[in-house]
């Protein structure tokens, strides 16, 4: 089972670039305990969304080998619309993530080259 159940959709793919989107479902399991006082979509789930989005957009297995850098600017909550602009070069996956149109995160990831292409 995936970490999250919200559906990832591919908007566009252009060579090494792609745009993917996901609406964060209110019934995500993670919200039950993160947190009881205020539902916050965990930053690591944003990383997971980018990996799932890249797998769908580029049709390859994505095994995360490093988070070279990640910055989280705003808290993401239930019902938020996420959109990620992805760039894949060699074993580097970069993503700019917006939540409801506002920049929410910037990620530079390294993915394991053993993934099929």
């Amino acid at each position: 089972m995936n970490l999250t159940r919200s559906e990832v959709r591919v908007l566009a793919v252009d060579g090494a670039k792609a745009a993917v989107t996901m609406r964060v479902r209110e019934d995500e399991l993670v919200f039950e305990g993160h947190y009881p006082a205020q539902a916050v979509f965990p930053g690591v789930c944003v990383v997971d969304f980018v990996c799932r989005g890249a797998a769908a957009a580029f049709d390859r297995e994505v095994v995360l080998s490093a988070i070279e850098s990640a910055q989280f600017r705003t808290a993401i909550g239930p019902g938020d619309d996420l959109e990620a602009e992805l760039t894949w070069q060699d074993d580097r996956l970069a993503a700019v993530v917006a939540a409801n149109g506002n920049q929410a995160a910037k990620l530079r990831l390294r993915v394991d080259p053993r993934g099929r292409s």
Binding site: P36, D48, A66
Partner: protein
């Protein structure tokens, strides 16, 4: 040693997202060693344990250290600000006890910077060059 009651007093996380089982050793303001037993019964255990959850579990251990260091009454939320140089070298298997080693590098206001690693039986699973967390004070606190 800090058990579940103590961890729940210090962290706002709850099932199924409370990913710290116990704290073996803690030196407020400096360092902490915490444990998380990985089981196949966790709802997201599929082909393996999601690597990002090892990072989340480490981050929660850092949250315990922050709570012990700067605000003993705990927090309503802990927000991940950023991370750098988080490398995944191996994966835990069900039955493994992951040991998180966290060092507090510096605290400035509500923002705290940590570094460290995670290991299983002495084998490094993950290295963390830096992770920043924001810990807003409890409302009215």
């Amino acid at each position: 040693m800090i058990g579940q009651a103590g961890i729940r007093r210090l962290l706002p996380h709850r099932y199924p997202m409370l990913l710290v089982d116990r704290v073996r050793a803690a030196e407020p303001g400096a360092r902490l060693v915490a444990e998380k037993a990985v089981t196949a019964a966790e709802p997201w255990f599929g082909d393996g344990y999601p690597r990002v959850l090892v990072a989340e579990s480490w981050a929660q251990s850092a949250g315990v250290l922050a709570a012990l260091s700067i605000e003993d009454s705990g927090f309503d939320v802990v927000l991940l600000g950023g991370m750098k140089g988080v490398e995944f070298l191996a994966d835990p298997a069900p039955g493994d006890v992951v040991e998180h080693h966290v060092r507090l590098v510096r605290a400035a206001g509500e923002s705290v910077l940590f570094e460290g690693h995670s290991e299983v039986r002495g084998k490094t699973l993950m290295k963390v060059a830096s992770m920043t967390m924001a810990l807003p004070r409890k409302a009215g606190g």
